[in-house]
Amino acid sequence: MPLPFEKPIEDLEIKIEEMRAYAGEQGIDLSDEITLLEQRLERLRRDTFDNLTRWQRVQVARAAGRPTAMDYLQGAFDGFTELHGDRTLGDDPAIVAGLARLGERSVVVIGQQKGRDTKENIHRNFGMAHPSGYRKAMRMFDLADKFGLPVITPIDTPGAYPGIAAEEQGQAWVIAESIRRMSRLQVPAISVVIGEGGSGGALAVGVANRVLILENAIYSVISPESCAAILWRDAAEAEKAAEALKLTAYDLLELGVVDRVIDEPVGGAHKDREETIRRVREAMLAEVASLMPLDRQALEAQRRERFRALGRFRDAA
């Protein structure tokens, strides 16, 4: 299923396919026409994706087929070895964590995992973690510190789960603790927003030295739908809310919330998963390398200063 604004692109793709098939069947040469159409397709793709509205980017960020954390764990890292459990409450499938190799280095990876199909989505609770997930993340921070392993957190969640058990188990407490624990890491930490960065549930594993974001990923204090429901009493106004919230990669770069935007292949990450994963891998490799020379204290201090500085205000009138 294409996204609404992908329809013209898909139509053209189908047309080219049909023309190719027709040429084959009829044994005639339509290569000039096809080349022209392909150029048009390329232009259309570029025009569309260079000019996505914020709401359209939200849709791309959530698109089916977009690489999930697990796709990166398996594609951008080597020898991912999953470690389970928080040693307290359970093992939250919405957060996948473990050890892996990134290039030559061992790292700890903590990924927020949405499902790649309905069944997995249900298993992963649509990427919405319970306190157990954040406790698992904190256990991984401890492991990373103990063994001097850089931490990488692919972020992709609509938010921390709002449910009875989650509240009973201190969802707010554990997010706060995770923010603090991550800010205290004595190793390099890199977050990559790969899809949805949903509020406190994302920030809990996003207190990194460097925060990267994919071009069509979003990071927001509230989902456009919830924002619209509050401000306009109508979740259908989500498009308006998405515009107002300035939640796209380049908005966030301007606000200083992220440090670097990773370009997606034209057509979006879901159209060229391998290339996307390759680019994220390159970015992570470069960022880890740039942080390795810093000692423990410097890493912690840089992280603290980075987040301490965020915000906009002026002297009172």
Partner: protein, 297 residues
């Protein structure tokens, strides 16, 4: 989300002090007793009949906790910008200006230095009446500054929270205040100075999920709603009724999330005792340190 409730409630502009129903007399929302308004105010906004804790104005809170005449304001020097150019039913700057006018302060927070039963403290009090006590850049910055100044001046920090969560009109920047306030507490920790938080009705969302629940000791007032997600959001998600008392102080005490539920009447003394007990350690350490391994066991 308490913020949503706040928005709904605040459509029709209310009387100056929104913390308790208006009029000379009022009917207690908890016990239905007829109470003389002045008695309620004189009793720190606690129903004299049933002990129900009403929300209280910032100034009354400061008066409750700070020793008479000891409060010296720190906040107020900064005000919000409009980093997103945010417009909903009205532009954010207009919304802000109305709140500034109405509440007589630049944003939803007051901080300052004070003594509490003689103990030097930094005091942070959030104002739920001001845009639902939402935490944007200014609230975050004032909290961070209060924490840092307390650390520098060797004060314990006491934060009285009341907030609907992050201020969405500042987008991701308001989200980042959760991290900012958290890291600002580190200086206090490094200097062995206690941070005690007092959660009052309502404390929800990004404030609960950051500095508010990072107190060395966490107290809450009776009956306060304290949550990450608000009850309405949860109800919409799970399509079920919520358990009795869910997300209230007493419930959270039972769940292990609070050190205690403390009535407003007992609050000042409890804070004083707690701060004194926690601070005595570093004093003793200071006095006795340096003797090292000398004494054999």
């Amino acid at each position: 989300m308490a913020l949503e409730r706040w928005f709904r409630r605040n459509r029709p502009t209310r009387k100056e002090d929104d913390n308790a129903p208006a009029g000379l007399w009022l009917k207690c929302e908890a016990c239905s007793a007829q109470i003389y308004r002045k008695d309620l105010v004189a009793n720190a906004y606690v129903c004299p009949e049933c002990g129900h804790h009403y929300r209280m104005p910032v100034e009354a809170r400061i008066e409750l906790l700070a020793d008479a005449g000891s409060f010296e304001p720190w906040s107020g020097g900064i005000q919000a910008e409009d980093p997103l150019g945010f417009v909903d039913t009205q532009p954010y700057p207009e919304r802000l200006e109305k709140n500034r006018q109405k509440h007589g302060r630049p944003d939803a927070i007051v901080t300052g230095g004070a003594t509490l039963d003689g103990e030097a403290i930094g005091l942070v009090v959030m104002d739920f009446q001001f845009l639902g006590g939402s935490m944007g850049s200014v609230v975050g910055e004032e909290i961070a500054r209060a924490a840092e100044r307390s650390a520098q001046e060797g004060r314990a920090l006491v934060a009285v929270t009341a907030s609907g969560g992050a201020r969405m009109q500042e987008g991701a920047l308001s989200l980042m205040q959760m991290a900012k306030t958290t890291v600002a507490l580190e200086l206090l920790a490094e200097r062995g100075l206690p941070f005690v938080s007092v959660l009052t009705d309502p404390t929800t969302g990004g404030v609960t999920a950051s500095f508010a629940t990072l107190g060395d000791v966490i107290y809450a007032e009776p009956g306060a709603l304290i949550s990450f997600a608000g009850p309405r959001v949860i109800q919409q998600t799970i399509k079920q009724d919520l358990p009795e008392g869910f997300q209230r102080s007493e419930f959270l005490l039972e769940k292990g999330m609070l050190d205690d539920v403390v009535s407003r009447k007992a609050l000042k003394e409890r804070l004083a005792v707690t701060i004194r007990l926690l601070r005595a350690g570093s004093v003793a350490r200071e006095r006795e340190k340096g003797v090292g391994r000398a004494a054999a066991l």
